[in-house]
Each structure stands twice: as structure tokens, then as C-alpha cells.
């Protein structure tokens, strides 16, 4: 266990070494949130609520969805692909640890860093500029925390899956880009799931993506009632378990297939 904690710390240190990159990041995210804020204001106009969300809830949804993204988002898939291309996995395989486990911990280290240096200051900044309603109830914060952690796990699992494909297709950059667009679209980051047409919602119910952004954001904005929250958390947990299966299968196949590039 020790080594995994150490790996989180390590990644944290690495991020700290490059922290200036992040100040520009906060600005970009704030601009994004601002753009969506004005867009939604125009759409709402005189209406007090659409699909069960008031305009303040909508603003809060947009803000929290982007700030949560800073935590769950990582480039583990691209890192894995690069390590395979450059033959660096060789080094990882002579270590007595689980490569994918270590990659996950690196993602978590990155997530924790961004949570403190990005999401929190970013949220304070956004709350000062836009009308946002934070949950008063500590229980909602608790549910939100759990849900956010699960969303990190699901997103990372999907990243691991996309990353491992580099073992089979030497160049999987296109796949990685496609995955990114799919997640931004189907996770509810850009549009809450309840705004999609019913047939699309029906399909999305059977996909893991809404566990990444829609669920934690809805919990935060009080868009879910008590039993809906529990159901949503359960659904996230089930996806975490289901996704373990293809990861395991793909990884076993990948190790057999492995060819190390370079001398």
C-alpha cells in the first residue's frame, strides 16, 4: 500500500514543479463557465425552470461540472500510449508492482493536485462572479464527495482501456481523441443528460459515461432527490466493477502481445 501512496506523492511533486501551467488553466475554465452561463441565460429567458432545473441550478451545474472535470480528468491514456511507443513500459515491467495500479495512482496524484490548486480556487473565483448556489446540507457534500471519487475511478478505467489499446495498434492517437469527445458529450459535461431526447437518454442509461459528470453535478446542484442519489451512486459503483473485467482481459492479452520498441 505504501508504494501506492508514495506514487501519489511523487506525482503531486511533479505537478508542483510545473504549477504555473495551471494558472492559465483556471482562466480557460472560467471563460468556459462564463460562456455557458450567458448561453444558458439566453435560453432560459423568462422561464423559471427547464427539465426540472432552475436557472441558478443550471449555472451551478455548469460551474461544478467543469471544476469536477479538473479532478477526474487525466491524460493517463496518452501517457500509457507514449510509454509503449517509446519502449518505456520495459522499465515498468521490471518493478514489483502492478503497472495499471500505479498509473491509476499517478492519475489520483494529479487529481488531488488539481483539486487543491485548481478546483478550489477556481470555484471561489467563479462563485464571486456568477450567482451560484452551494449545497447547505453537509450530507449533500458527503454524497458529492463519494460520487466525485467514483467518477474519477470510472474515467480512469476508461482511460486505462483506451491506453492499453496502444499495445495492439501502434498508433491509437485517433482513438484517444474520439474517446475524449465522447466523454465530454455523453457524460453530461456540456449538456445535462435530462436535456437529451428520450431515445438518447435511454441509450445513455446503459453506458458508463453519465457516472463521470452528470451524477456528481446533479448531486451538487440538488437536482436529485434522496432515493435518486442512492440509486445513482449504486449505478456508478456497478460500473466500476463491470469495467474491471475488460481491463483485466485486455491487459492479459496485451502482455502476451507486448513488443518493446528500441534496444
Amino acid at each position: 500500500m505504501d508504494k501506492y501512496v508514495e506514487m501519489i506523492r511523487m506525482r503531486f511533486l511533479m505537478m508542483l514543479a510545473y504549477r504555473t501551467d495551471y494558472y492559465t488553466g483556471i482562466l480557460i475554465y472560467s471563460i468556459n463557465i462564463g460562456a455557458y452561463y450567458f448561453l444558458w441565460n439566453a435560453i432560459y429567458g423568462e422561464k423559471s425552470s427547464i427539465e426540472g432545473l432552475t436557472s441558478i441550478q443550471m449555472t451551478t451545474y455548469v460551474a461544478i461540472a467543469w471544476m469536477a472535470r479538473a479532478f477526474y480528468f487525466n491524460n493517463i491514456d496518452r501517457e500509457i500510449a507514449a510509454e509503449i511507443k517509446e519502449g518505456k513500459v520495459a522499465i515498468e515491467l521490471i518493478r514489483p508492482y502492478n503497472y495499471l495500479g500505479m498509473k491509476t495512482m499517478q492519475g489520483l496524484g494529479e487529481g488531488i493536485f488539481r483539486f487543491f490548486f485548481f478546483s478550489i480556487p477556481g470555484m471561489i473565483l467563479v462563485a464571486l462572479i456568477f450567482p451560484i448556489q452551494l449545497p447547505y446540507n453537509p450530507v449533500s457534500w458527503g454524497y458529492f464527495g463519494i460520487s466525485l471519487l467514483l467518477s474519477f475511478v470510472i474515467n480512469t478505467q476508461i482511460n486505462l482501456l483506451t491506453g492499453i489499446t496502444a499495445f495492439f495498434f501502434y498508433n491509437n492517437a485517433g482513438l484517444i481523441r474520439a474517446k475524449r469527445v465522447i466523454i465530454d458529450l455523453f457524460s453530461g459535461l456540456i449538456l445535462p443528460i435530462s436535456f437529451y431526447p428520450f431515445w438518447a437518454q435511454d441509450i445513455m442509461k446503459y453506458l458508463p459515461f453519465q457516472g463521470i459528470s452528470y451524477v456528481p453535478s446533479m448531486i451538487f446542484t440538488n437536482g436529485f432527490s434522496g432515493s435518486e442519489i442512492v440509486y445513482a451512486l449504486l449505478q456508478q459503483s456497478v460500473w466500476v466493477l463491470i469495467l474491471l473485467i475488460p481491463i483485466r482481459l485486455l491487459w492479459t492479452a496485451a502482455k502476451k502481445q507486448l513488443i518493446i520498441q528500441g534496444g
Binding site: M10, M14, I91, I94, R95, Y97, L258, G263
Partner: protein, 335 residues
């Protein structure tokens, strides 16, 4: 357990794709690709005893690194049997990797952007080394390799020689009984090479560490290894003592002279020597080359006689390289 490494009929094949020519060829490549199966390691056998230091040599592309990757559990062999430290490296990977140390000269295993000591700290945790063990063992390693002042520097700011010493230290954190070194001295200057050789000799004596190293530097082998395993196109072509290999195949040394004044080749040929030496004149570089067998004090005798008679501008002793030995073996056949 007596043998650190046991290899029987070990084989690794790679698919090597070839592209068809032209546009039509490119389209056909999309559907089916031409490939050949190339054995990089071709049914080899050898064993290494605990505590031995073995040089694993051969020309570029001979299959050395591929063998090491199988021995360390990174690649799965196509066929053959493999027992290293009593385990199957690929099957029992996590347990197995605790018992080996690996250095790839061409590839860093330290984390690029952060201080060396952070990498050490992580590896210490990964290998579950206690504080006491670490202080005792690594304290010594750090002192011997003289890397104390480098520990708080990020790896990307180290020179190649500095980094390589840190790499070596990193591979030894858990004091493994078996060490694989794939070109550990590549690109290093003489002083760093000497330091690394001294160090390897010392840990071999102190802990009876088995060392398998690949290198293109005959000096490394002479300093460290009695035994040489030579590979060519995936097959072992020699397995035995370094001395007999050199006596049979290194044949000659070349000594290159440049003189201040003009010298006739015949004057050189008639120098009083107790052995025979052949002379040649290389017009392009204006150098005179003496070929002689490397025995007794031949070299010092030759040089001292030449120096006493002519004014010298430059002398170079040309070491026979591993590549030349391999070529000799191939041209003249084994035994």
C-alpha cells in the same frame, strides 16, 4: 540454489513487416501485410552460476537485449525453458522482479522531472526496504559511486555519466542477488567507466552478486568478466574464457605511429626486436602501422625501440574491438 540462470532452447521470434512498393502496393498493404518471421534469439542454451560475472557480447542486432528482456520477465519467450533465480520470470513477474536489478544504458529508470532522491525514496517503498537496511547499504553505494551531491538535483539536469551512476545505485536499492546490465558504460568517459567497473567488482566480492552484462567495450569485459558468451544472429557462437577467446581471435594489436621527420618503411622493418612485427604505411593519414601479437612485453619493447631511434609526433594503440573478434571468428570459422 546454485544456478542463477538456466536457459534451455530459448527462442524469440519477431514478425518483421515489409512494405510493398508503389501506390498499389500501399493499398494491398492495407488489406494483407507481408511479413517474415525472424528469430532474434535462436534456440540458445547456457547457465550462469551464482556469483559469476558474465559478459554477453555480439554485434549490433545479435539479440543481446532481446535475451535480457526475456531473462528479466519483460518479454515472453516464443519457446524454450527459462529459470532465473529459481523462478519463471514472466509467469511469476512480481515476485521475481524483487530478486533482480536491471540497468538499461539507453533508457532511464529514474523519474525525469524530480530529484534523484525522490526516485530512490519511491523505489525503497516499492521494494519494501527498511530504513536501517537502506541507510547501511545505500549509504555505502552512494559514497562509493560518489553521487551524494547529485541526490537533490532533478534527473534531467544530470550529465550522462552522473545519471548512469545514479541509475546503477537505483538498480541496487534492494541489494538484488542478480544484476542485468545492458550496455551500462555506453557513452561514458574513461574515469566514469573505471569507477563503475571498480564498483561492480566490489559488490560482486562483497555480496556474491551475479552479474550479466552486455557491452561493446572490451575494457569492461577485461576488467570484470572471466567468462564470455558471444552471440551472433541469435545463436551462441562462443561460451568460455575471455583469455582463450582473445588469444585465438584477437590475434594482433595495431600500433599507429606518426613521426616528426620522414622515415623509411625499411628502417622500421629492420629494427632490432625479439619477435616479429609487420609494418605498413598508410599514406592518407601519414601513419606507420605495426602489427604484432599481444604477448609478454611486445608492445612496450616495440614502443621503446621506436622511440629511441625516431622522433615521434603521435602514438596510438588500437584495441581490437569485439566486432572485429566476431568478424574474425566468422571469417575463419570456430575452433
Amino acid at each position: 540454489m546454485n544456478n542463477a540462470i538456466e536457459v534451455t532452447q530459448l527462442r524469440k521470434e519477431f514478425k518483421s513487416y515489409s512494405s510493398r512498393t508503389g501506390l498499389r502496393g500501399a493499398f494491398r498493404d492495407l488489406l494483407t501485410r507481408n511479413y517474415k518471421i525472424v528469430p532474434a534469439v535462436n534456440d540458445i542454451n547456457f547457465t550462469v552460476k551464482q556469483g559469476e560475472m558474465v559478459a554477453y557480447i555480439g554485434e549490433n542486432g545479435a539479440g543481446k537485449s532481446t535475451t535480457i528482456k526475456m531473462l528479466t520477465g519483460i518479454l515472453e519467450p516464443t519457446s524454450g525453458k527459462l529459470r532465473v533465480n529459481g523462478m519463471n520470470p514472466h509467469r511469476e513477474r512480481e515476485k521475481f522482479t524483487r530478486t533482480i536489478g536491471v540497468v538499461f544504458g539507453q533508457r532511464s529508470q529514474l523519474w525525469w522531472d524530480i530529484a534523484v532522491q525522490e526516485s530512490f525514496r519511491l523505489l525503497k517503498k516499492v521494494y519494501k526496504v527498511s530504513d536501517q537496511q537502506y541507510d547501511e547499504h545505500m549509504g555505502h553505494v552512494i559514497k562509493t559511486l560518489d553521487i551524494g551531491p547529485l541526490l537533490d538535483k532533478p534527473v534531467r539536469k544530470l550529465s550522462l555519466g552522473q545519471r548512469m551512476r545514479c541509475e546503477l545505485a537505483a538498480a541496487l536499492i534492494h541489494n538484488p542477488p542478480l544484476l542485468f546490465l545492458d550496455e551500462p558504460t555506453i557513452g561514458l568517459d574513461v574515469l566514469v567507466k573505471l569507477k563503475i567497473r571498480e564498483f561492480l567488482k566490489e559488490i560482486n566480492e562483497k555480496y556474491n552478486t551475479t552479474i550479466l552484462l552486455t557491452t561493446h567495450d572490451l575494457g569492461d569485459i577485461e576488467a570484470l568478466c572471466n567468462r564470455v558468451v558471444m552471440l551472433d544472429e541469435g545463436k551462441i557462437v562462443y561460451d568460455g574464457e575471455l583469455d582463450s577467446l582473445k588469444n585465438n581471435w584477437a590475434e594482433q594489436k595495431e600500433i599507429h605511429f606518426q613521426f616528426m621527420n620522414h622515415v623509411n618503411l625499411s628502417e622500421l622493418k629492420s629494427l632490432p626486436l625479439t619477435f616479429s612485427a609487420e609494418w605498413e604505411y598508410d599514406e592518407k593519414d601519414q601513419t606507420y602501422i605495426a602489427y604484432l601479437k599481444e604477448e609478454d612485453e611486445n608492445i612496450s619493447q616495440l614502443i621503446s625501440v621506436v622511440v629511441s631511434q625516431f622522433k615521434i609526433k603521435d602514438v596510438k594503440i588500437h584495441e581490437t574491438s569485439i566486432e572485429e573478434i566476431v568478424r574474425n571468428i566468422y571469417e575463419k570459422g570456430m575452433n
